[in-house]
C-alpha cells in the first residue's frame, strides 16, 4: 500500500508573460525522504519553491500537500499545512532578537502555543536544536553568515513542519561550515522530517539526498538516485560540465 506522499505536484507551471519559469513539473516526495533539486541558474528552482510555499501563484497544475490541493493558497495557509522553508537570501526580523525571530514561528506557525512567554521558552528549545543556544539575545544583524543561515533553519523548524524546503542553504559557506549543516539536515531526517534541498553544492547533494530531481529551463530533465543522475550525460551537458566529471573521477570526492 502506498502512503500519501507528503508533497506531490502535477503539471505545476508558472508563466511570466511569455516565459515559462516552471513548466509542467510533476513528481512526488514520499514521507521521510530527502529530495535534492539541482539545475543551472534560471532553471526555475526558486520559482518552484515559491510555488509550493504559496509566495507565487501557479498558472497551471496542482500542489498536493498530503493529498490536499493547495495550489495558489496563501503562504500562511501552506505554513499551517505543515510546510516551511528557508529563504535563499536570509530574511531575519532585524529589529527582534534571535529568540524572538524564532518565537514568531512558534506563535503563529504551530498549533497549541498562544502565549508570548510560552513561545519564547519554546524558541530556546528550537535554538538548542540548531546549536544556537547562546545566541538567543543577539540581534540578527551581527550574526556571521553561517549563524544567519542557522537562524533561517531555526525559524523554519519553529513551525514543526512535516515538509521543509531548503533554498541553497550551503551557498557561501566555508567547507568547515558545510559539515555541521549536513549533520543538522541528517538529524532532521532521522526525526522523520521530509526535506527538499535545492542546492548547487554537489558534495552536499550526494551526501544527503535519497533522490535527486534535475530542473532545466523550468522542466524536469530527469530524476532518480543521486549517483545515477549526476552521471547522466544530459545532466552533465546541461549543468555539471565535463570538468566536474573529470574532477570527480580524478579526485573521488
Amino acid at each position: 500500500m502506498t502512503a500519501t506522499p507528503v508533497l506531490e505536484t502535477r503539471g505545476l507551471g508558472r508563466r511570466f508573460g511569455g516565459l515559462k519559469a516552471v513548466d509542467d513539473v510533476s513528481f512526488s516526495v514520499p514521507e521521510g525522504q530527502v529530495l535534492g533539486v539541482i539545475g543551472p541558474n534560471g532553471a526555475g528552482k526558486s520559482t518552484f519553491i515559491n510555488l509550493v510555499t504559496g509566495h507565487i501563484r501557479p498558472t497551471s497544475g496542482q500542489v498536493l500537500i498530503e493529498g490536499r490541493d493547495l495550489a495558489g493558497a496563501k503562504p500562511w495557509s501552506i505554513a499551517h499545512a505543515g510546510v516551511s522553508r528557508t529563504f535563499q537570501i536570509v530574511k531575519p526580523f532585524r529589529g527582534m532578537s534571535v529568540r524572538e525571530n524564532v518565537a514568531v514561528g512558534i506563535l503563529y506557525g504551530r498549533k497549541g502555543t498562544s502565549r508570548m512567554s510560552q513561545a519564547l521558552e519554546q524558541a530556546d528549545e528550537v535554538l538548542a536544536e540548531v546549536g544556537m543556544s547562546k545566541l538567543g539575545d543577539r540581534a540578527p544583524g551581527g550574526l556571521s553568515v553561517a549563524d544567519a543561515r542557522r537562524l533561517e533553519f531555526a525559524k523554519a523548524l519553529a513551525l514543526r513542519p512535516r515538509l521543509l524546503l531548503l533554498d541553497e542553504v550551503m551557498a557561501g559557506l566555508r567547507h568547515s561550515e558545510i559539515e555541521p549543516s549536513l549533520e543538522l539536515i541528517k538529524s532532521l531526517r532521522e526525526r522523520g522530517l521530509t526535506i527538499i534541498v535545492v542546492e548547487h553544492v554537489m558534495k552536499a547533494i550526494l551526501a544527503i539526498s535519497d533522490q535527486v530531481l534535475v530542473l532545466h529551463q523550468g522542466k524536469v530533465l530527469t530524476s532518480g538516485e543521486p549517483r545515477t543522475v549526476l552521471s547522466d550525460p544530459r545532466v552533465i551537458e546541461a549543468y555539471l560540465g565535463q570538468r566536474y566529471v573529470q574532477r570527480r573521477e580524478g579526485g573521488r570526492s
Binding site: 500562511w76 529563504f87 527582534m96 524572538e100 514568531v104 547562546k134 544583524g141 525559524k155 549533520e183 543538522l184
Partner: protein, 371 residues
C-alpha cells in the same frame, strides 16, 4: 546530535562589517540598538509590566487636576494637544508598528466627523451614539479600503491612501444634499433640534483627554501583545512573516481598521466641537502630514514617541503661530526638514539607541540613512 557551534570569533565572513560578535551572548553596541523595543521575556518583573499603565493613569490624573488651573484659552490649546496625541497614536498603529505609511489617514477623521454631523443634524442622533457609530463606521471603512489597498507597498500604498482621502473630500463636496457640500454642515447645538447639550470647553477638554488616553492605551496593548508582535514582523519582513504562518492580510486590515477607529472617534468629537465643518478642513492633507511628522519626530513604532511628538509639535506650532505669525509655516517647514534629517528614527528611538551604544553624536546619526 548536532555539536554546539560557537560563533566565529572574528573573520572576513562577517556580513555586516562593523560589529564583532563578542564571546559573551550579551548584545552590544549597535547590535543591541537594533533590537529596539523588544518583547519582554517571562522573566520580566511584575512592576515593569504594569509601569506603562501606571504612568498613563498618572498622566490622566495630572491632566484632570490641571484643568482647574487653566484659562479657557489654555484649555482649548491643551485639548488640541490631546486631539493630536490621539491622532498620532492612531497613525502609529498602521504607519509605525505595521510600517504601512498611510498618507490619507485624514479620511477617517473626515468620515468620522461627517458621519456625526450628518447623523446629528439629519437623523436626530444624540452625540454619544453618533460618536460610537462614527468610530465603527470609520473602522469599517478602513477594513473596506484596506483589503485592496494593503496589497500595495511603500509609496504605492501611501499615494493610494492619499488618493482615497482626496477623492472622499471631493465626493463629500459634491453631495450637498447630504453633507452641505462646500458650504459646510452644522451640528445643531441650540433649540429643539439639539439632541445633546454642547459640551463646552470643559467638556471637550475631558473628552479629548479621554480619547488621548484611550489611544495611548490601545498603543500599549498593541505594542506588547501577540497582535503587535505580528505587526512588527510584517513591518520587518512581510514575506518571512507570511511564510511563518502569520495571516498578513488579516493583521494588516485589522491594524488599519483599528487606526481608523481611533482617528474616526477624534474626527467625530472635532465635528461636534467645531459645530460647523467643511470638507476642506475635515479632509485636509495637512492634518495627515501633521500626524506623520509627530510620530516620526517622536519615534515611530513606539508608544511614547507619538505622545511626545504630538505635544512637542503642537507647542511649537502654537508658539510659532503666536510669535511669528507671517512666517510660522516657513519656520515649521524648516523644523520638519531639520528634524527628519537629524533624527530620522525619532527622539525616543534615538535616545534608546544612544544609551545602549554610547553613540550620542547627531552627526553620526545623520549618516544612518545617507547614500
Amino acid at each position: 546530535m548536532t555539536p554546539e557551534t560557537e560563533t566565529e570569533p572574528t573573520g572576513s565572513d562577517q556580513p555586516n562589517g562593523t560589529e564583532q560578535p563578542s564571546g559573551t551572548d550579551q548584545p552590544t553596541g549597535v547590535e543591541a540598538a537594533e533590537l529596539g523595543a523588544g518583547v519582554r521575556s517571562s522573566a520580566e518583573p511584575v512592576w515593569r509590566r504594569w509601569l506603562p499603565f501606571g504612568l498613563l493613569l498618572l498622566g490622566v490624573l495630572v491632566m484632570l487636576g490641571a484643568q482647574s488651573q487653566l484659562y479657557s484659552g489654555q484649555e482649548r490649546t491643551v485639548a488640541a494637544i490631546f486631539m493630536f496625541v490621539a491622532l498620532a497614536q492612531g497613525w502609529n498603529i498602521i504607519g509605525g508598528f505595521t510600517g504601512y505609511a498611510s498618507f490619507g489617514q485624514v479620511v477617517f477623521f473626515g468620515v468620522g466627523g461627517y458621519f456625526t454631523a450628518v447623523a446629528m443634524s439629519h437623523w436626530g442622533f444624540n452625540f454619544w451614539v453618533s460618536l460610537v457609530v462614527s468610530g465603527l463606521v470609520a473602522a469599517a471603512f478602513g477594513a473596506l479600503i484596506g483589503l485592496p489597498l494593503l496589497r500595495l507597498r511603500g509609496h504605492y500604498f501611501a499615494i493610494a491612501t492619499l488618493g482615497v482621502a482626496e477623492g472622499m473630500r471631493e465626493v463629500v463636496t459634491n453631495v450637498p444634499g447630504l453633507t452641505g457640500g462646500g458650504a459646510g454642515i452644522s451640528v445643531p447645538t441650540v433649540g429643539k433640534d439639539a439632541t445633546t447639550a454642547y459640551l463646552g470647553n470643559d467638556g471637550f477638554y475631558l473628552l479629548f483627554l479621554a480619547l488621548a488616553a484611550l489611544s495611548v492605551l490601545v498603543a500599549i496593548l498593541v505594542a506588547r501583545n501577540k497582535f503587535g508582535f505580528a505587526l512588527r514582523a510584517i513591518n520587518q519582513d512581510e514575506d518571512a512573516a507570511a511564510a511563518m504562518g502569520i495571516n498578513t492580510t488579516r493583521a494588516k486590515v485589522s491594524a488599519f481598521a483599528l487606526s481608523g477607529l481611533v482617528t474616526g472617534l477624534v474626527g467625530s468629537t472635532y465635528a461636534f466641537q467645531q459645530v460647523t465643518i467643511f470638507p476642506q478642513r475635515l479632509f485636509d492633507v495637512d492634518i495627515t502630514v501633521l500626524m506623520v511628522v509627530m510620530v516620526v519626530i517622536g519615534g515611530s513604532g513606539t508608544v511614547l514617541g507619538p505622545l511626545l511628538g504630538a505635544v512637542a509639535l503642537q507647542f511649537l506650532s502654537e508658539y510659532l503661530r503666536r510669535n511669528f505669525t507671517e512666517v510660522h509655516t516657513f519656520i515649521l517647514g524648516a523644523i520638519i526638514i531639520a528634524a527628519v534629517v537629524l533624527l530620522p528614527q525619532g527622539a525616543v528611538n534615538y535616545v534608546r539607541e544612544a544609551r545602549q551604544s554610547g553613540e550620542w553624536s547627531l552627526l553620526a546619526n545623520v549618516r544612518r540613512y545617507r547614500l
